[in-house]
Symmetry: none
Subunit: 243 residues, 2 copies
Amino acid sequence: MDNLPSIFGQHDLFDLEDLPEASDDFSRFLFNVRDRFGVDDIAYAGMNPVNGSIFGHVTYNDDWKAHYASQGYHKIDPTLHKARRSIAPVDWARLDRDSNFLMVFDDARDFGIRDQGLTIPVRGPYGDVGGLSVTSSLSQKEWNKLKGEVLVGLQSVAVHVHDMVIRSDNLSNLLRTPTLSHRELEALQWTSAGKSQQDIADILSISNRTVEVHLRSARHKLYALTTAQAVGRAISMGLIYPG
Amino acid sequence: MDNLPSIFGQHDLFDLEDLPEASDDFSRFLFNVRDRFGVDDIAYAGMNPVNGSIFGHVTYNDDWKAHYASQGYHKIDPTLHKARRSIAPVDWARLDRDSNFLMVFDDARDFGIRDQGLTIPVRGPYGDVGGLSVTSSLSQKEWNKLKGEVLVGLQSVAVHVHDMVIRSDNLSNLLRTPTLSHRELEALQWTSAGKSQQDIADILSISNRTVEVHLRSARHKLYALTTAQAVGRAISMGLIYPG
DNA sequence: GGCGCTATTGGGGAAAACCCGTAGTTGAAT
DNA sequence: ATTCAACTACGGGTTTTCCCCAATAGCGCC
């Protein structure tokens, strides 16, 4: 927690020392960012890779927040969907106007929210993913200009917000200790290389039952239902490498 | 397999400049960025888990590049190691001056490279990790000032470079990859989400035997011996996403 | 029309994985 | 000194996957 703030010094617009400690203050921080960048609304959504749940802080009005949640739009929101698969910022103008897009944004319009915006994905080392979105109701020309001006700054804000949220999120704390033992990692690694439990037992010169125990333990630690899921999760978290 | 795995695994380091295509563009781009931001050197290192290869692209002089590679410093480089575990930019000033640090930077000094710099981690959705580092030989006071000014911009550059590298690498891999059918991808995707064949059969409203056929076909196309391996491979290739 | 490819649906049986335990040893930490 | 996590191993029983086989339907292509 203390090894981050000073890196940004005093010159930076968004010094981490200004970042709120309590999660209740995240919204206020976002309002602050919104005003500084001159956008309509700003929203952060963090995705927990364990159960796929999404949590976030937004400056949207309460009506839209409630509607969005009640409709389960986080499951189909194309901006989140694309951000989850992208490295670079996602310009909503480049998204397909497919059925999911229309379903979300047709409703959004009724709540005063336009389909003009950006989503910036950010990832941490534990498979944690987040996205910072901004919306604007400027004219297209003005928005394009503003977009270029704020993009770089928003990138930085996104990283800082995600960092803070993940650090204060209890669920993610479980993931932040992916202390897979050496044997568990070995077993997973060989499984990812296509070896059976018996193969691995021979390779490691241990019993196949022991290999099974290690894989079972790895599944539990990664909250995975199957070994295949554990392998995928471990790869996406950088714990092992594809074989 | 080490107790403390090397940063990018057991793989060899190789230089983007050794690659025929686009290397000139990357090189020019980095030199360009270096001059624009007023730093001494810029280095990008990234790993694509598709083949576990490491991509490096730097503005360091050839002597240091050769020395760094020949000593295998990418395995112990503390700047990479810390960046691998961090979301936010890593200030080298805050790193422990441990044995690994001294081993790398004592040598670096002989090649005119200071232990004053920043490393910005970047992550993509497939477990791919990269880091953009900059060095400076300014006075500490001047460097602290410059650091605050360039940090936000470098964040953006880092994302951009990583995106370009991974994208081109994924693309080249995709060209050699047999295309999986829609059903095969669906089956793999749900398997990655921890579902059994019967679960998937229910979800897709097809027979569990059909699901099995799709998974088998996917395994063959991916040259995978087990479904777990196929899942890992598909994730690392970007065909599916971790569930 | 034939040809090749893919998606779909099965059966039977072998192999592997998985779940529920118990239990001894080691080494590190409190 | 005791707790605790990791590693090791085994048993019995269940579930799932995997591999052999065959078959129908749809699709574009020459």
